[in-house]
């Protein structure tokens, strides 16, 4: 008895010791800076001098800051790529799920852009979007279409970035769908076939509901990732693009914090971004709970 409680006490100590590094890491590198960000957002922090509390002034400035509105609009606009990517990825996964020859090869090929360095891929697409000699316009030329100078035109720069993002991410989404499709039992489809349902009906009433949790997961992770988009614009449009048409929120935060040293103001934007992601994640948790309730 005594030995057992001794054992348990030892286990308590070691158990805690083993999780101490990540716990400390979390406190030092995430939670403390997070609280500091919130505090900083109420100050005129410039990284050098004293931090003076200035109330909601930063947030009020955000409300009227045209560049921030543009960055916010651009970031949201580029999320149009999410539904496009989802539809394409699901179609690809449905195709691959039929066991056509070369499935493994297709999976690998579609996944290559996912593992490729975003910086290298951005450099490559920047060249591909070149107005005169780029791959994209030369391809369009085959159909007699004269393409624009994609990255220099304020109307085409965002669609160009969306196309690139879909190209880069579709393999990942496809893979998640493929895994979900493979876990749907064949017997559902056999039953549907017996009932005389055509393949569209089978998709709508069996496949789509069965992969709904994955769809939901993809939407949420894509919104979270999409709201932090940065590398592409930093490389392809270092100044934020024509009329700031390709600057994202994180791009603007980065410019303000490390270019202009308006750290208080940048922190206010970071807090807004964090709050946005917090709400999206919260919705996910709620919906997940609801969904598992549905299944029961």
């Amino acid at each position: 008895m005594n030995q057992k409680s001794n054992l348990y006490r030892k286990e308590k100590i070691y158990g805690f010791l083993f999780i101490l590094p990540p716990l400390l890491g979390l406190l030092i590198f995430t939670l403390y800076p997070m609280i500091y960000s919130i505090y900083g957002s109420f100050t005129d922090w410039d990284g050098l001098g004293q931090m003076n509390l200035i109330g909601l002034s930063n947030f009020k400035d955000l409300w009227t800051d045209e560049l921030f509105h543009k960055a916010l609009f651009n970031t949201l606009f580029m999320m149009l790529g999410i539904p496009i990517g989802i539809v394409l990825a699901l179609l690809l996964a449905l195709g691959l799920n039929r066991g056509v020859p070369g499935t493994t090869a297709f999976r690998v090929i579609y996944y290559v852009p996912v593992i490729s360095s975003l910086a290298a891929v951005s450099i490559m697409w920047n060249w591909a979007y070149n107005g005169d000699y780029g791959l994209v316009n030369q391809f369009l030329d085959l159909f007699g279409i004269t393409g624009p100078n994609w990255m220099a035109n304020k109307y085409t720069v965002k669609p160009a970035l969306i196309i690139m993002a879909v190209w880069k991410g579709v393999g990942y989404t496809m893979l998640l769908y493929l895994a979900a499709l493979q876990s749907v039992s064949r017997s559902y489809y056999e039953a549907a076939e017996l009932d005389g349902a055509n393949s569209f009906k089978a998709f709508w009433h069996i496949t789509w509901p069965m992969v709904r949790p994955v769809t939901f997961f993809i939407i949420v992770t894509n919104i979270i990732g999409g709201s932090q988009i940065f590398t592409e614009m930093n490389i392809m449009t270092p100044t934020g693009g024509p009329e700031y048409a390709s600057a994202s929120v994180v791009f603007y935060i980065w410019q303000k914090a490390f270019g202009n040293f308006q750290m208080g103001y940048a922190s206010a934007m970071a807090v807004v971004l964090g709050a946005f992601i917090f709400v999206v994640t919260l919705i996910q948790f709620r919906m997940n709970e609801k969904q598992s309730f549905d299944v029961d």
Binding site: K12, P22, L26, I28, A120
Partner: protein, 278 residues
């Protein structure tokens, strides 16, 4: 019915093939550009297979910028973080899955919920913190936080550990194994494949990271490979030396491409699991 299925499958195969061309085409074009002479990239119509093939740019890039030190810096960061970080992460995952201690679930939940804090929301105070330590323009801000472990990895390994029977652990406990040995010689060998897959994914993430290096690293010889090629792009695009830029970019994505092709089965499997479990 069967022949209709065959026709549909052939059609799907062709569509998938066209899709594959769109996926791989731009990358092949990148390769083709890197093997051209500076003037040949402006040929109309474009030439896919350069004639003659110029390998010269792959020699030139090492002189044209700090590419070698970029590779070195990226390797130092990615290797040190993943090796130490995988140890701390797997140890913590073991503790969360198999040991009993107070507030365990609360701490785990705290860690999980911290995942929704985006990096941009903490990067400014983090920068300030590291600049006070004099660590700006060194690799340390990119290494040190990772050494403490990776919460995503802890989550997946803990999940994986739930398939390891508790009886094995309990038996070893009664035999008087130390807690560290329970981890190192009993648990770790059982979860090695999952650890390897997570390590590779993490390695790739660090290798391809761009935002944190750009914040901390200023001197050319301190920069990671991704920053070096971005600077190549900024410098040589003005001189329209696209073959040079593409050659450097190919070098930057080649290591991950090779790792992916070698471990594609494990990588694809562990990614697929992440969606189902997530």
């Amino acid at each position: 019915m069967k022949s209709r299925r065959r026709i549909t499958n052939t059609l799907i195969f062709i569509l998938l093939l066209i899709g594959a061309v769109f996926m791989i085409g731009p990358l092949l074009w990148m390769l083709s550009t890197s093997l051209k002479d500076k003037q040949d990239v402006f040929a109309l119509p474009p030439v896919w297979i350069p004639n003659p093939v110029h390998f010269g740019k792959y020699k030139e890039i090492w002189e044209a910028g700090p590419l070698l030190s970029g590779i070195k810096n990226s390797v130092i960061i990615a290797v040190s973080v993943t090796l130490v970080g995988t140890f701390t992460s797997s140890l913590a995952a073991f503790s969360f899955a198999k040991l009993k201690f107070p507030a365990k679930n609360k701490i785990f939940l705290l860690m999980l919920s911290s995942l929704m804090i985006p990096y941009p929301a903490v990067m400014i105070p983090q920068f300030f913190m590291f600049s006070k330590l004099g660590w700006v323009d060194t690799l340390l801000p990119l290494i040190v936080p990772g050494l403490f472990g990776n919460i995503v990895m802890i989550f997946f390994l803990r999940q994986y550990l739930s398939s390891v029977p508790n009886a094995i652990i309990e038996a070893a406990k009664i035999d008087g194994s130390s807690y560290f040995r329970l981890y190192s010689s009993i648990t770790f060998p059982l979860i090695k494949p999952a650890v390897a897959a997570q390590l590779i994914l993490w390695f790739m993430g660090i290798w391809n990271d761009y935002l944190s290096p750009i914040i901390y690293l200023n001197s050319p010889e301190k920069q990671t490979l991704q920053l070096v090629i971005a600077n190549f792009n900024a410098t040589y695009a003005i001189q329209t030396d696209y073959p040079l830029i593409m050659a450097a970019s190919i070098i930057a994505l080649l290591p991950m491409l090779i790792i992916f092709l070698v471990f594609q089965k494990q990588i694809i499997e562990s990614v697929a699991i992440s969606g189902v479990k997530g």
